[in-house]
Amino acid sequence: MFDKYIVCPYGLRNVIDEHGSIEGFELKIRIPYYRGVPLSVVDSLKITIGAETFTNESIRFTVASGSFTMSEMSTVATRRWNFDEDATLKVTRPGGLVYFDQRVEVLIAIRAPYGIFTGHDVKVLSLEPDKYLAVAAK
């Protein structure tokens, strides 16, 4: 359910690290379920862009309550992804995305108490202006 809303129509952009290199890209997603959940039940994510596939290992998941890599998330039981909230997925991919229009496919699995809830969405998005990460304070 809510599958067609998973990939947000906005928010796809390359991410420039503190040294000025493109470290990857990010996109925003919505939850394919009818309530918010603790982050630990976000079981797996698979993002396909063009012919490339990215899984848990290369994805950082950020919501208002925290920012974790997908492998860290398995123990994050006290922070939540809310029902009405965009999550930002940052994908490590040196060089980032090249083409202006990108076919973005997301497969996501959430462990509900009665089993796995999967969601699937594909959209063609246009790259927005790059995001520059601030140089750390010290």
Binding site: Y34, R35, V41, A77, F83, D84, A112, P113, Y114
Partner: protein, 326 residues
């Protein structure tokens, strides 16, 4: 004389809430606008502070209750047994989660929490003193494919016999009284690739109470595709419990989930057996809530705009008539 009360689970407005066109206050106002007075909520859906509701939020919440002349009824809980990938939570941990949800419900002013059938009965039993402590009842939702009339309920009946009905009871979901294949679901199946002719054949066979094994062979010969077989499977799983079974549960029905998929413009529901169910509820003296759960959005949202407010209002027109409200 005590009478059935009309309420709404804000779950009904999830499409608009998800799309950010209705906020929590708008949902509450929508309940009030129909003259309904009970507000059910899934805290994890519409309270982002869950499980620690701040005094500031609660002040707003009760402010809305007053402003819109409504009252909190049920808080729907989930018991996140698969919280971690490497194991199922222990009973002890599930009791902790139950207490957490009882507290949330108490804070929200709800009289009952909905627990799922995935919560082990021994966890429910161990939670009864906590229900008493927080002054909130525990209601087991009985949802299709569970059958209100089957022996599946025996252990729970035993729990009731042993521990009484002050803190434990049931929340039947009216989805168990399904009369026939849903028209909007059939249309969706066709949009998803099923053949209109085959869907119609299956529906007619269902109405005629035909043997579905035979129907399966028939549609195979007609050239059925995967979506056609999916439709047949969906029809085969339709559950119509006899509404008279509610009499058996008289005395421990805490709350009712008034599930529905599609209300017609003439304020009738083709699919669910409310025309029989509501009179039975009246007959057994049920004086709790009929709490709307609109779930049709999932079926139509690929092709049509969702109007949850309109759908729920139509259901309440039907309820007014069936309850005999002036």
């Amino acid at each position: 004389m005590a009478t059935i009360k009309r309420g709404v689970s804000l779950y009904s407005y999830q499409e608009e809430y998800f799309l950010r066109t209705m906020k929590l206050e708008d949902c509450i106002k929508a309940v009030s606008d129909m003259g309904a007075t009970g507000v059910e909520i899934i805290p994890e859906q519409m309270c982002n502070e869950y499980p620690d509701l701040s005094p500031e939020f609660l002040k707003k919440w009760f402010g809305w209750m007053e402003k819109y002349h409504v009252q909190p009824t049920c808080a729907d809980a989930f018991s996140e047994a698969l919280l971690f990938k490497n194991r199922v939570l222990s009973d002890d941990e599930l009791v902790d989660l139950m207490e957490r949800d009882l507290k949330v419900a108490h804070d929200l002013g709800c009289f009952v929490i909905r627990t799922l059938c995935t919560t082990p009965m021994r966890v429910i039993e161990r939670s009864l003193p906590l229900a008493k402590k927080h002054g909130v009842k525990i209601g087991l939702e009985i949802h299709a494919p569970l059958d209100l009339g089957s022996s599946w309920f025996d252990p729970y009946q035993d729990l009731i016999d042993r521990r009484g009905t002050e803190w434990f009871g049931i929340i039947p979901d009216m989805g168990v009284f399904e009369l026939k294949p849903s028209r909007i679901k059939a249309d969706r199946a066709i949009r998803d690739g099923a053949n209109a002719k085959i869907v119609q054949y299956v529906n007619d066979a269902y109405d005629a109470k035909a043997d579905l094994k035979k129907v399966r062979e028939d549609i195979a010969k007609m050239g059925a595709n995967a979506e056609d077989f999916k439709w047949l499977g969906l029809c085969a799983r339709i559950l119509h419990t006899d509404p008279q079974v509610l009499k058996k549960h008289k005395g421990h029905i805490f709350h009712v989930h008034a599930k529905f998929y599609d209300m017609l413009p003439d304020f009738t529901d083709e699919n669910l057996d409310y025309e029989v169910v509501v009179p039975v509820l009246k007959e057994i003296g049920y004086d709790g809530w009929l709490s709307s759960e609109y779930e049709g959005n999932r079926t139509i949202d690929d092709a049509f705009p969702v109007d949850s407010i309109q759908q729920v209002s139509r259901q309440h027109e039907m309820f007014k008539r069936l309850i005999g409200e002036k």
